[in-house]
């Protein structure tokens, strides 16, 4: 709940803060928690990253967010050539979520390096490039071009469900996923994060496959394939028919998958899916994620990443957690 709640509606005796604020209002103690984490050799000041495709190329959000404060910035998925994306409509709201079928529109890796990266380099947050390809060759070529440009790492999107050749085969087939990871590892000397698709029977098998193939970290989840129909027109609400479901609606599924994955891999996990508040981010961290990515929430509150960061800090102070590492995977039994 946000501060702007209709406080003025309440009587004089009303709690001056909303419940979530009350929960975090306990007196601070003098511990300044160490929130830094190391993901696959990338040093993050804190675990709060932006999710690919929801934060543009950073520039769009710079009026609202001090980019220096972010754990890392992950940019919109890059392909070898620029891509125009899908026809419209591309987005539709769903209960506590949204479907998107952007179709991986992007400026292409070269334009990114030439025109978008210089802006991001002015800030000290590590920049991670999310990449995808129609085949292994494209993945490796994009990775090669990014190598040595000053980015901190590569996130391989094997999971985008929008474009037929855009990764869905890789994302649901452990052998194919492993192939992409091995090829990208070879092509670039950068740390490699593999982003998993939730559209699978067993996320653990996918996670193990990419770990074995040499991925330095795993991020999950990408969107879940969904669909909405305009019953008056009897047409799909998205021109692409299906799209990827994101937002708070999917959070319970994402937390479950992070928890399952954390028990079978040793490489760091980055939790993604429906994070709107610090509490939501903490669910992922307690379930086993070393860092989190914020996606759809950026659209709702442009400075949500900073609020989440602040909330995690407050939580650690309140619970006397000196180092975020104490919290990661600290789920107790019932």
């Amino acid at each position: 709940m946000k501060k702007q709640h209709k406080l003025s509606l309440r009587g004089a005796l009303a709690p001056k803060q909303s419940p979530s604020e009350i929960a975090s209002a306990s007196p601070r103690n003098d511990i300044t928690p160490n929130l830094s984490v190391n993901i696959a050799g990338i040093h993050l000041k804190n675990p709060v990253m932006t999710a690919s495709g929801t934060f543009g190329y950073g520039e769009e959000y710079s009026p609202y967010v001090d980019l220096n404060k972010l754990g890392a910035i992950i940019v919109k998925g890059l392909s070898l050539k620029p891509r125009q994306g899908n026809p419209c409509p591309r987005i539709v709201e769903t209960p506590a979520g949204m479907l998107n079928a952007i179709g991986l529109q992007n400026v292409g890796v070269d334009v990114f390096i030439k025109e978008k990266l210089p802006f991001l380099k002015k800030y000290n947050a590590p920049v991670i490039a999310n990449i995808f390809g129609q085949g292994i060759d494209e993945y490796t070529e994009v990775a090669k071009r990014l190598d040595g440009t000053g980015i901190a790492g590569i996130e391989i999107n094997i999971s985008c469900p929008n474009v037929k050749k855009g990764g869905i085969v890789f994302g649901t087939n452990p052998k194919e996923a492993a192939k992409v990871v091995r090829a990208v590892k070879k092509a670039a000397s950068l740390p490699i994060i593999t982003k998993l698709s939730p559209n699978v029977t067993d996320i653990k098998i996918m996670a193990r496959a990419v770990e074995d193939a040499g991925s330095d970290a795993i991020s999950l989840i990408n969107t879940i394939t969904g669909m909405a129909i305009d019953v008056e027109k009897r047409k799909p609400k998205l021109a692409n028919i299906t799209g990827g479901l994101s937002g708070p609606a999917i959070r319970p599924i994402a937390v479950r998958m992070v928890w399952e994955t954390s028990k079978v891999v040793k490489i760091p996990i980055i939790g993604i899916g429906g994070i709107m508040t610090a509490n939501d981010a903490l669910e992922f961290i307690i379930a086993g994620a070393k860092a989190v990515q914020i996606g759809t929430a950026n659209f709702v509150e442009p400075d949500v990443t900073i609020k989440i960061l602040k909330g995690i800090e407050d939580y650690c102070e309140r619970h006397r957690i000196k180092n975020l590492m104490e919290l990661i995977g600290s789920l107790k039994r019932h």
Binding site: Q4, L9, T54, G56, V111, T296
Partner: protein, 291 residues
């Protein structure tokens, strides 16, 4: 992004409301055509913000936020069409609402044109209140053509009458003004004046601005195009971020005619973003077949 206070929320016509919002410091540089994204509910359903044009802006002297009031703010004119606007219609004085903006581009300045014709369909009237003010500053003649389904579909009509601007009205059912589509008014207007545009700004002649439903805009664009009169349209689209980040509000453009698209090596851009490249577009830029 700011936490704004509701000053009033008035039901002016069936389904139409005026929402006064206090904006600390106001929106000093705000221009006609720009919009805000409102977070209507703190709950997770509806999840996304909703876009609304800025109807009146107090800073520019147009917003009647109480006579003589020093309150800085904006007025939104909106129509209840779904979940979000339905919730909005329940807002009361003193309620808080989060406002993101002003966003987007604006209508071109009127200088250089002699006649500015503004074509509005229903709620499409919104951007023109501020545009009239700006026209007056530029000493251009302006005329509003306002169409609606019926007499209850002409929101803000009185405001424009008070401005003293020349306004012609049509309704589909003839309940006010002429019976028929507003595009007929436009045809007549262009005939009457014998307007002829050179298709370039500064030609000291007619400029058409339009806001309304997509079919209306398409028809307006065709009429203007035939006469070679420059025409700008304000487009509507579903939005998630409002700032060019999600790429969700894409509109198909005639790629080959777009210039200065340095991002693509083949100099072709098929989509523009309504929130950031728009909401106002040169009508010749739009691929009207794909709208």
């Amino acid at each position: 992004m700011m936490n704004s206070r509701v000053l009033y929320n008035k039901n002016i016509l069936p389904s139409y409301y005026k929402l006064g919002l206090e904006i600390d410091g106001g929106f000093p540089d705000c221009q006609a055509g720009q919009f805000v994204m409102l977070k209507i509910s703190e709950q997770l359903d509806p999840l996304l913000r909703r876009p609304f044009g800025i109807y009146k802006n107090r800073v520019q002297g147009g917003c009647p936020l109480g006579a003589g009031s020093r309150v800085q703010g904006i007025e939104i004119l909106y129509k209840v069409v779904g979940k979000g606007t339905w919730i909005m219609s329940g807002l009361k004085e003193g309620d808080k609402i989060d406002v993101l903006g002003p966003l987007g581009n604006s209508f071109p300045l009127s200088d250089g044109y002699k006649n500015i014709i503004m074509v509005a369909g229903g709620i499409g009237i919104v951007p023109f209140y501020m545009q009239v003010a700006s026209c007056k500053m530029q000493v251009a003649t302006c005329k509003i053509l306002f169409g609606g389904r019926n007499k209850n579909d002409l929101p803000g009509l009185n405001d424009f009458k008070k401005l003293g601007v020349d306004i012609s009205i049509s309704t589909d059912d003839g309940s006010t003004g002429g019976k028929g589509f507003v595009t007929e008014l436009l045809k007549e207007e262009l005939e009457k004046k014998g307007s002829r545009g050179q298709g370039v700004k500064g030609s000291n002649n007619t400029l058409v601005l339009a806001c309304g439903s997509k079919p209306m805009l398409k028809a307006v664009a065709e009429i203007a195009d035939k006469k070679n009169i420059p025409c700008y349209v304000s487009l509507d689209n579903v939005m998630a971020c409002g700032m060019g980040a999600c790429l969700g509000c894409a509109v198909k453009v005639k790629g080959s005619r777009v210039q200065g698209f340095k991002s693509s090596r083949n100099n072709l851009q098929l989509y523009k973003m309504v929130c950031k490249d728009g909401p106002v577009f040169d009508s010749r830029e739009i691929d009207w077949e794909k709208i």
